[in-house]
């Protein structure tokens, strides 16, 4: 699971009003190299919840010097876009779980795939 994907995931457990962002508890993290596409990264940035991305990167130990607030004029800032590229698309959680911030429900991540399925009584 890449952090771009994590940035979109929400917990839908019945009764939960704010299941976002999911906390990440990782036991295995991998970095998979991917070609840098500055246009793609620039286009993704406005769709992101920036705070959730920074927190996720921090929890995994890959925040480095990623700023807490989004920088202005990031489209022209290649160095910044490269950092975002790395946390968004190269850092991958292979094993661990996601935790709903409200209900505490845990969603396992196995071999890189988060399992968001709910039991009948939770849906």
């Amino acid at each position: 699971m890449k952090l771009l994907t994590h940035n979109m995931l929400t917990s839908h457990v019945k009764g939960v009003t704010n299941g976002y962002p999911l906390l990440i508890k990782a036991t295995e993290v991998k970095v998979n190299q991917l070609d840098f596409n500055p246009q793609f990264v620039s286009r993704m940035i406005p769709k992101l919840e920036w705070g959730a991305l920074v927190q996720a990167a921090e929890d995994l130990g890959y925040r480095q010097d990623l700023p807490g607030e989004l920088v202005v004029d990031y489209q022209q800032n290649e160095e910044f876009l490269k950092k975002v590229h790395r946390v968004l698309l190269e850092v991958e959680v292979m094993e661990g779980f996601l935790k709903c911030p409200e209900s505490g429900r845990e969603f396992p991540i196995t071999k890189g795939i988060p399992n968001m399925l709910l039991n009948d009584d939770e849906a």
């Binding site: 979109m8 596409n37 795939i113």
Partner: protein
């Protein structure tokens, strides 16, 4: 990448080992997948550098093809862990890393949280012939919520009028890009004939 190259790459994608009838697990043939993706890429420019969702991705042939055509990232959604396991192995064999997967039930997904997050949605949804009538429309509805630009999907030609009406109700434009003969090999025990051709539309839904 040429169409022929894409198709021959997709021929190496592994598909369902034991397809599950209730999930209507029919693989998208390499030929159909390649033609769909090639058109989406060349005619509409909706793959390269895009964030692509593949709903009901199964073993991932459409996602893998989108990744080969340089999608920024393709994300496959499926309910079945066995199918996703094959998808993951395919991704590893092709050494593709612009791919991700989520195990979830699209029928109870709140698509609103993904509203317009994806550029493009591609899918070969279950057609809803096995006690799950209307499931293709549930997938389509979710896809339309999630996509910023367009949804590409396969549907039985016999349902075209119904889908056209729904598209109008939802305020989206529907185009029939191609009429296909979907060669359904006899993958289940109840299939008496060796293979059956069904008429399928390749549709594009675009948002205003």
């Amino acid at each position: 990448m040429k169409l022929k190259e894409l198709e021959s790459c997709l021929q190496q994608v592994d598909t369902f080992e034991e397809p599950k009838i209730l999930l209507e697990q029919y693989p998208t043939s390499p030929h159909i997948a390649a033609c769909m993706l090639y058109t989406i890429h060349n005619t509409f420019g909706d793959i390269e550098g895009k964030l692509v969702a593949d709903l009901g991705c199964g073993c991932g042939v459409l996602s893998l093809g989108a990744s080969m055509l340089d999608a920024g990232l393709s994300v496959g959604f499926d309910i079945d862990s066995d199918a996703l396991d094959i998808f993951r192995r395919n991704a590893e064999e092709f050494e593709m890393s612009n791919l991700d997967m989520i195990q979830c039930d699209l029928c109870c997904l709140n698509a609103e949280v993904y509203a317009r997050k994806f550029d493009t949605v591609i899918m070969n949804p279950p057609f809803g012939t096995k006690h799950n009538q209307g499931i293709d429309m549930t997938f389509l509805r979710a896809g339309l919520t999630m996509a910023e630009t367009a949804v590409y999907s396969l549907h039985k030609t016999s349902t075209r009028e119904h889908i056209q009406k729904k598209a109008k109700d939802w305020g989206v434009k529907m185009e029939v890009i191609a009429e296909l003969r979907y060669d359904l090999p006899a993958s289940y025990k109840f299939h008496k004939k060796k293979s059956v051709d069904i008429q399928v539309d390749f549709l594009r839904f675009s948002k205003a």
